[in-house]
Symmetry: C2
Subunit: 454 residues, 2 copies
C-alpha cells in the first residue's frame, strides 16, 4: 500500500520536474458527478502546467443531472434542461472527449478498449462509470419495468405515463384494467420523489387536461420492502415523507416488495396481484458491469475494492470512485452510492494523481441529504443535526440542486421551468415525443409504417 | 354545388334556432396549422353558444411548429420549444382531444374509425391531416433518407449528425469515408434553411467542440433539380440565397437531384456518386395517405378535390384544408402546401360550418414568403412587391415566427434560446438523446443490451 503510494508518487514526480515535456495522460471513464469533477480538477491551469492531460470517455455526449430525472419523467422539465454537453463544459479546459463504451481494460499495456474497436493508452485510469439499474433477479422486472437512470429512461417513462392517460380517455376500459395504476418499487429518495411528482402530475395536469377521466380511478402505489421510507434518513423525516405522500393520495405499502412483474400486472411479496401497465423500478442499482469485468475482487453489488486512496486493489495506476468503489464507511458498511461521495472522492483522486493527497487517505464528510415529496414539501437533513421539513426544506432543495446543476444555460432553463410550473401549477413539458416513429436508416420501417400502405 | 351549399345551410340552421339543445359535432382530423385554427374558431364562446362541439383527432398529443424543425435538427432549439400540447392549448375552449390515427371514414354513417379500434360520429368532418414526406419512388430514399416532418424526425437527425462528428473524432477514417458529408435534397425553404443551419452548426459549434477535426473535410451539399433555389421566390431572392449559402461553404448543385440512395453513398442524377452517411430528404411531400383512402378522386400528390367552400367533392359534410386540399390558385395550378394557405382555409371552413361564409367561396390572400439562410441572413417577400434581404429580412423572419408560435411558454423558450445562441454563437441543444437505449417494455432488449453480459 505504502509501496503503491510511492510508486504513484514517482510516476508523477518527473512531470513536475520538467513540466512542458513529460505528459501524464489520465483517462477518466464516465461523465457523471465523479468523472466530471475529476476531469475538471485535473484540467486546471496548474494541473496542465504540471503536464497532466485528460481524456474523458462516456457512452453519451452529455452529463446527466440524475437527481432531476424524475422531473423529466413527470413532464416538469425538458430533457435538455438537465443534460449538459461534455464538450461544451470541458472544451475550454483542454479535456479531450471520447464518446464510446469501455468494454475492456488491459492493466499490463495500460490501455482501455472501446466497443467501437478503438482504444486509449493511459498513465492513470479513473473509473467513474457509476451504476445501472439492478433487478436483483426479480422475474419480469428487466422485461416490464421502467428504469430511471438516464434521460432516455426518463423520456420513455414520461411518454408511457402520458400515453396511459390518453388511452383511458380514448377507451374507458383502460381506466379500469390497471392502465391508471402506477406502481413505483423502492421507497428511497428516487421512489419517494417520483411518487410525489406523479401525484402532483395527476392533481395539477391530468385533472385539467382530462376532464373526461374519473381521477378516483388513478392509483399511485409506492412499495418499500423495509418498514419505513427514506431508510437513510432519520425516523422523523421518514414519517413526514409517509404523511405527505399519503395526503397526496399515494398508496404507500411498507414491508412489501415486488415478487414478479408481468406486462399487465405486478405480484407483490404479500401475494396481492396489482393490475398495472406501469412498474417503475427504483428499488436498487448495482455498479457498472465494467467493474465485474476487470478480474479483480468485487463486493456485493459489483463494487470494486479500493485502498484508502481509492486505488483499485490489484490494479496498478487504476482508481475507482463513486458508485463503482467499495469504500468503508466510518459507521461501518460501505459509503452510499450518492453524488456527494462520488464528488468528494473525485477531488481526492485528483489530488493523488497530482501527488498532493493527504497521507491518511480519503475521508468522507457527510453534508446531509434531501428529498422532495412534492410542491412545497421536502425533507432535508443538514450537518449538525439540522432537520428541515416542508416549505423551507423544499426551498433548500431547490436552491441546492440549482447550484449543483452544471452550466449557466441549464440553471436558467430549470429555474424558468420551475417558476413557470409553480406559478401556473403546471407541468409544461408533457409532450409525447416518441423517437421510434422517426424515419431513419436504423428504423426505416418507421417511415414505411407511417405510410398508408402499411 | 349550390345545392350542397343549401344543404349545409339547412344542416346548421336548426342549431342556431335552438342553441342549447341541438349540438353540431365537428370532428377535426389533424392538429397542424389548419386543424388547430379550425378547432379554435369553432370553439369561441359564440360558436359554442351556436351549439357547436369540436373534437380534434391527432396521432400525437401535440402540435408541431414545423417551420422550426430544422433548428431542432441542428441543435439550435429543444424539441419542446416548438411542440405545443393540444390539451393545454385547447382545454379552456372545451375542445375534446382524441389521440389516435384515423384509418377510415364512413360517409354514410358519418363516422371516422381509428387505428386503436375506436370511432367517432361527426356531423361535420374537417380533414386537416397535412402531408408526409414523399420519396417519389427514388430507390433507397425511404430506407436511407432522413425526413424532417416531425419532432421525432428532427431529433433523430440531430442525434445522427452529432454522432457523425463524434465518430470522426473517435476514428479519422470516418472523416474521409463520407461520414462528414451531409447531403440535403431539395432547394426549397426547408432545404435552404437546413443547409444554412448545418453550415452554421459546423462553423460555430463543431469548430469549438471538435478542435481535433479538420473542418476542410466537412461537406454540405444542397441538391436542387431545378435551375434555382427557392423556386417559389423571385429570381433576386434565389440568387441571394445561392450567394449566401455558397459564402457559408455550402456546395449548391443546381439542376441535379438524387438518382438513388444507399447506406454509404448517394448517386446523383448526373451520375456522380457521393460517399455519405447522411441524406436529408427535403425534396417533397404528398398529402396524407388518408386522402387516397376515401374512395373519391385525388389529384397528383394525393390531394383531395374540393369545391370553392373546401367541401370534398363526392363526400357530404366533409371538408379538406391545407396540404390535403387541391384548391386552384388564381395564377393557375394549385395553392402551395404551406401554413398560410392551411390557416386561411381553416378560417373559411369555420365560417362555412357556422354558416357565415361569403357566397363566393374561399379566396387566398398571399401574405408573402420568407426563408432564413443563417445567422442574420434571410430573404422575405412581402405583399406589395416589398423584398427584404439580409439582416432586416432575418429580423422580420424571427419576429413573424415568434408571433406565429402558439403558447406563451414556447415563445419565451424559443426567444431565450435564440438570444442565447446569437450572443454566444452557440447551438446549445446538442445532446445526443437516443430514446432507443432506454429500458422499456417495448425495447427491453435495450436494457439487456446495456448490461455487461450482452
Amino acid at each position: 500500500m505504502g509501496d503503491r503510494h510511492r510508486t504513484s508518487a514517482q510516476g508523477t514526480a518527473p512531470t513536475r520536474a520538467q513540466p512542458r515535456q513529460a505528459a501524464l495522460h489520465v483517462v477518466v471513464v464516465g461523465g457523471g458527478f465523479g468523472g466530471l469533477r475529476v476531469a475538471r480538477e485535473l484540467s486546471t491551469r496548474r494541473a496542465r502546467r504540471a503536464g497532466v492531460r485528460v481524456t474523458l470517455v462516456d457512452r453519451r455526449n452529455h452529463h446527466t443531472f440524475q437527481p432531476l430525472l424524475y422531473q423529466v419523467a413527470t413532464a416538469g422539465l425538458q430533457p435538455q434542461d438537465i443534460g449538459i454537453s461534455l464538450r461544451a463544459t470541458l472544451r475550454r479546459r483542454g479535456v479531450e472527449i471520447r464518446v464510446g463504451e469501455v468494454v475492456d481494460i488491459d492493466p499490463t499495456t495500460h490501455r482501455v478498449h472501446l466497443a467501437d474497436g478503438g482504444s486509449l493508452a493511459y498513465d492513470r485510469l479513473v473509473l467513474a462509470a457509476g451504476a445501472i439499474t439492478e433487478d436483483f433477479g426479480v422475474p419480469g422486472v428487466a422485461e416490464h419495468g421502467y428504469a430511471l437512470k438516464s434521460l432516455a429512461d426518463a423520456t420513455t417513462l414520461r411518454n408511457h405515463v402520458l400515453a396511459m392517460f390518453e388511452a383511458a380517455s380514448a377507451d374507458p376500459v383502460h381506466a379500469t384494467d390497471g392502465g391508471l395504476t402506477f406502481v413505483v418499487a423502492g421507497g428511497g429518495p428516487t421512489g419517494v420523489e417520483l411518487a410525489g411528482a406523479l401525484a402532483e402530475l395527476v392533481d395539477l395536469v391530468v385533472r385539467r387536461d382530462h376532464p373526461e377521466l374519473d381521477l378516483e380511478q388513478v392509483r399511485i402505489v409506492l412499495l418499500e420492502p423495509r418498514e419505513r421510507l427514506l431508510g437513510t434518513f432519520a425516523d422523523r423525516s421518514s414519517a413526514h415523507a409517509l404523511d405527505q405522500l399519503t395526503r397526496r393520495g399515494v398508496d404507500v405499502r411498507l414491508g412489501i416488495g415486488v415478487a414478479r412483474a408481468d406486462a399487465d400486472h405486478v405480484q407483490l411479496t404479500d401475494g396481492e396481484v396489482l393490475p398495472t401497465r406501469t412498474l417503475v423500478w427504483a428499488a436498487g442499482v448495482a455498479a457498472s458491469p465494467l467493474a465485474a469485468h476487470l478480474g479483480v475482487p468485487v463486493t456485493a453489488g459489483r463494487r470494486l475494492a479500493v485502498d484508502q486512496h481509492l486505488r483499485v486493489v490489484g490494479l496498478r495506476d487504476v482508481y475507482a470512485i463513486g458508485d463503482l468503489a467499495a469504500f468503508p464507511a466510518a459507521e461501518g458498511g460501505l459509503l452510499p452510492q450518492v453524488a456527494p461521495v462520488a464528488m468528494q472522492q473525485a477531488g481526492h483522486v485528483a489530488k493523488v494523481v497530482l501527488d498532493r493527497a493527504p497521507a491518511r487517505g480519503f475521508v468522507y464528510r457527510d453534508k446531509g441529504a434531501m428529498a422532495t415529496i412534492g410542491r412545497a414539501a421536502a425533507v432535508a437533513e443538514l450537518p449538525g443535526g439540522i432537520r428541515l421539513r416542508g416549505f423551507l426544506a423544499w426551498l433548500a432543495w431547490l436552491g441546492l440542486h440549482l447550484l449543483q446543476l452544471v452550466g449557466f444555460k441549464n440553471r436558467v432553463g430549470v429555474l424558468v421551468s420551475w417558476i413557470w410550473n409553480y406559478l401556473r401549477a403546471d407541468h409544461a413539458a408533457r409532450l409525447i415525443l416518441d423517437q421510434r416513429e422517426a424515419a431513419t436508416v436504423e428504423t426505416s420501417n418507421g417511415w414505411v409504417r407511417r405510410r398508408w400502405a402499411a
